[in-house]
């Protein structure tokens, strides 16, 4: 140990936290190459920026979920949460004319739902699947009751730029995603809280008996997941320029797909935010490519399913070797 090789990397747990990232990047490169050769439209700046914008939105929803899944938990309420937070924000912006107030309300609503999930999982000891699945229906129900079939639309241009605008030629959501990845990456890698979260996911009882305050760490990740859903709701609202009760529903399954394609293990202890971003990118590139190739959109779910399974198979078949090498 005297000639310590890259000391930092020695413990970062990279191959362990982030399985088969090389293969995934290869997949991204292959997708880009194939689409660049097959279509003229792919390798244009507007299209690439559009891919990046869409992947960023998917990442934002999936980011908090990633941390939850790293603790061997699950948050199924993020889609419904996003919808409710967006609708609350929309209503407040319309009523008060204040974008800031509306965004704050959306964020807080997401956060409160996250806290409620955390309480159910830690204090009421409900399995995360059940707790957040029940929450999904409740939030959904509140939103349908609240919106009563109406749509709120037409927001100030300044607010809409948050979702559909550019700054220095780059879509605004991309900045948000970059910020989330930076902060999230620092949090998971360079704070002891981040390391605690991985410890809990790998063996919750051992983590508890090592003195880690498991409940408060879990509260933290569920709260973060809720808050990120709320934030995503605001960005989606800005992008769509309209809010209705069901707007978050179609977003849950792609978010889970991005996390899984990104190599995060449902068993906990393994996974990274950058992996999830790569997962979101693979997802978006595939859908984008299918659109450019004018393949019937009815095929998209099937292809997504295949990719999720491919990623899972890749991890299963490479993990043993990666582990044995460490």
């Amino acid at each position: 140990m005297s000639a310590a090789p890259p000391a930092g990397a020695a413990l970062a747990g990279w191959p362990l936290r982030m399985p088969s990232i090389g293969y995934r990047l290869l997949g991204v490169a292959a997708l880009c190459l194939a689409l660049a050769l097959a279509t003229d439209a792919f390798l244009t700046l507007p299209n690439l920026l559009n891919v990046l914008r869409q992947a960023s939105l998917t990442f934002l929803i999936a980011s908090g979920l990633t941390l939850v899944i790293v603790t061997a938990g699950l948050d199924l309420s993020i889609g419904a949460n996003l919808g409710l937070s967006a609708c609350f924000a929309a209503a407040v912006i319309q009523a008060s004319g204040s974008v800031l107030l509306g965004a704050a309300v959306g964020l807080v609503s997401g956060l409160v739902i996250g806290v409620a999930n955390g309480v159910m999982v830690t204090w009421l000891k409900l399995p995360p699947f059940i707790a957040t699945y029940g929450m999904l229906w409740m939030v959904y129900g509140v939103n349908y009751w609240y919106m009563a079939g109406t749509t709120i639309y037409d927001f100030p241009q300044g607010f809409r730029n948050l979702g559909s605008g550019d700054a220095l030629g780059v879509p605004v959501p991309v900045y948000l995603t970059a910020a989330a990845m930076l902060v999230g990456g620092l949090f998971t890698r360079y704070t002891t809280w981040g390391h605690d979260i991985y410890a809990i996911g790998a063996n919750r009882e051992a983590a508890r008996l090592s003195g880690i305050p498991v409940r408060s760490r879990l509260m933290l990740v569920y709260t973060l997941s809720g808050a990120m859903a709320g934030l995503s709701g605001i960005v989606y609202l800005a992008r769509l320029n309209s809010a209705e009760a069901g707007m978050g529903d179609p977003l849950l399954l792609p978010a889970i797909a991005a996390v899984l394609i990104g190599g995060t293990s449902l068993f906990g202890g393994i996974g990274t935010l950058s992996g999830t971003f790569v997962g979101a990118l693979i997802l978006t590139l595939t859908l984008n490519g299918m659109n450019l190739l004018t393949i019937d959109t009815n095929w998209q779910p099937l292809v997504m399913g295949v990719i999720v399974l491919l990623a899972a198979w890749l991890d299963a078949s490479t993990r043993r070797r990666a582990e044995a090498r460490a």
């Binding site: 020695a10 410890a199 460490a326």
Partner: protein, 509 residues
């Protein structure tokens, strides 16, 4: 079932051996797990298989039960060459293995467990003939001299009972070669005696038994022959009458290891742990005890007497209902997080479930408890982390190729060092060791004792829970004896003998 002649002495058998393994070799990437190992076991013989962790015992067993394919070698059963390509082949040939971790399904009852997957069809297709199943299960248990309701779910059985159900299950499959992997690891002394009676009965029925053990004493109690494995090779096969413990240990380690003798010192320091009238949700009640700096204090008692429960209650892992636990004068009431923050560490008996994250690296595990102390401002620095981990690995002599190695790849003894290491990293001053030597080899045991001694010499305090009476006697300054989830007596250094412990532990029996 083939009823063999009754062999009181296996060498008296005139037929072919029940099982012969010849020239078995198996190579895993980077390790030669088995190198030309041969093993012969006769009907009615108890063949002890001993060796350090990593010596090849479990690989040899896995080869015999068809879970691992050897690179070369051959098998004979009753003199006939056979092929064992799968676990199904092995089962068909009458090989049954009772692993340390039992495979019973907790919510199924005894009879369902015994006949799992082989239920008797009833008259109506698809329906199970329960009456017959319970009758046959009852007969099997009777034959083993066990009086138990076959309708009890496995979850409600004690370890010894679960083990017997496993044996009954094996017998119901016409097992003629029974492999037992450390069958006494979780049993009390009394239960061990009963198990040995049953093993002797199985012998009389002509079953060939391969018995893996870390406890050398029982090798001489129950064994007919002994095979010692070392580094994947057969070091020797011998008869108990012609050898002794020291010789066996020599064969296992290839060098002489002194049995541990503690350097006792008379001066104990301040009271570190003070427990008064403790009552916990897990059933521990009326417990008072104290440990001083520089002391190793033992907690002895039979299985089920509440030793582990006491450890968990003191640590705050199980809820305390009444009484108080004071660490260095300060009262604890906040669970494990507070206990650790105040300087208490628990080395639990089941390190895989509650001691370590097996799928994380050695480095991550070594640091997990110490993070708040090492990085008080919560900012994780990889350089510092790597330095501390390297220091711990060197200090504990953990045999690992790299700090990034997943903990599950280490041997039991090295895993145990990692558990202790995480408390060293956390700067703990009071240690609770619960069965610190369970499932680790002789050399690692000696290291573990040496380590505990170093800890108390440095002024730390240790509470050691052990079912190995000889360990308590050899290592402890004092010991408390438990029965029925409370402390029934305290033995000072002068009175601390195995006999005295047993007298207190069993009292009314």
């Amino acid at each position: 079932m083939v009823q063999g002649q009754i062999h009181e002495s296996p060498t008296a058998g005139d037929g072919a051996p029940r099982v012969e393994m010849r020239g078995i070799s198996k190579r895993f990437p980077g390790v030669r797990a088995l190198d030309d190992v041969s093993l012969t076991v006769h009907a009615g013989e108890v063949h002890m298989l001993v060796g350090q962790n990593g010596a090849g015992k479990s690989t040899l067993i896995k080869v015999l039960c068809g879970a691992v394919h050897p690179d070369s070698g051959e098998f004979r059963i009753d003199g006939r060459p056979v092929r064992i390509e799968s676990t199904a082949d092995a089962r068909r040939l009458g090989v049954a293995v009772i692993f340390q971790e039992f495979s019973l399904v907790p919510h199924l009852d005894i009879a369902q467990n015994i006949f799992l997957g082989r239920e008797f069809p009833g008259r109506v297709p698809g329906v199970i003939d329960r009456r017959r199943m319970h009758a046959e299960a009852g007969a099997l248990l009777d034959a083993l001299g066990m009086d138990l309701d076959t309708r009890l779910p496995a979850a409600e059985l004690g370890v010894a009972q679960q083990q017997l159900v496993e044996i009954a299950k094996a017998l119901s499959q016409n097992a003629r070669i029974l492999v037992m992997d450390e069958p006494t690891a979780a049993l009390s002394e009394h239960e061990i005696d009963r198990l040995f009676e049953r093993i002797r009965k199985l012998k009389r029925d002509g079953i060939a038994i391969i018995y893996i053990s870390h406890r050398l004493r029982e090798v001489f109690t129950i064994g007919d022959r002994i095979t010692v494995l070392r580094d994947g090779r057969r070091a020797a096969t011998l008869e108990p009458a012609r050898t002794d413990m020291a010789a066996l240990v020599r064969l296992m380690v290839g060098r002489e290891v002194r049995t541990h003798r503690r350097r006792f010192r008379d001066s104990a320091g301040d009271v570190v742990l003070d427990v008064r009238n403790l009552e916990a949700e897990n059933g521990v009640h009326g417990v008072g005890l104290h440990v001083r700096a520089g002391e190793i204090v033992g907690v002895a008692g039979l299985v089920g007497s509440g030793r582990t429960e006491l450890a968990r209650a003191v640590f705050g892992a199980d809820r305390v209902l009444d009484g108080e636990v004071r660490l260095a004068g300060q009262r604890l009431r906040g669970g494990p997080a507070e206990a650790v923050a105040r300087g208490m560490g628990l080395v639990p008996e089941d390190r895989k479930e509650s001691g370590l994250a097996m799928t994380r690296s050695v480095g991550d595990n070594l640091l997990v408890a110490g993070l708040p102390r090492i990085f008080p401002n919560r900012w994780y620095r990889f350089g510092t982390a790597a330095r501390i981990v390297a220091g711990l690995i060197a200090r504990l002599q953990v045999a690992t190729p790299s700090p990034r190695r997943l903990t599950k790849f280490l041997s039991g003894g090295n895993q145990q060092k990692v558990v202790v290491g995480k408390w060293l990293g956390a700067g703990v001053r009071f240690y609770v060791f619960d069965e610190p030597t369970r499932g680790i080899d002789v050399a690692a045991k000696a290291e573990m004792f040496g380590l505990m001694e170093t800890l108390v010499d440095d002024g730390a305090a240790v509470l050691m829970i052990s079912s190995e009476l000889s360990e308590v006697v050899a290592l402890c300054d004092r010991a408390y004896v438990m029965r029925d989830r409370t402390i029934v007596g305290e033995l000072g250094r002068r009175d601390l003998t195995e006999e005295n412990i047993l007298k207190l532990a069993m009292h009314h029996e």
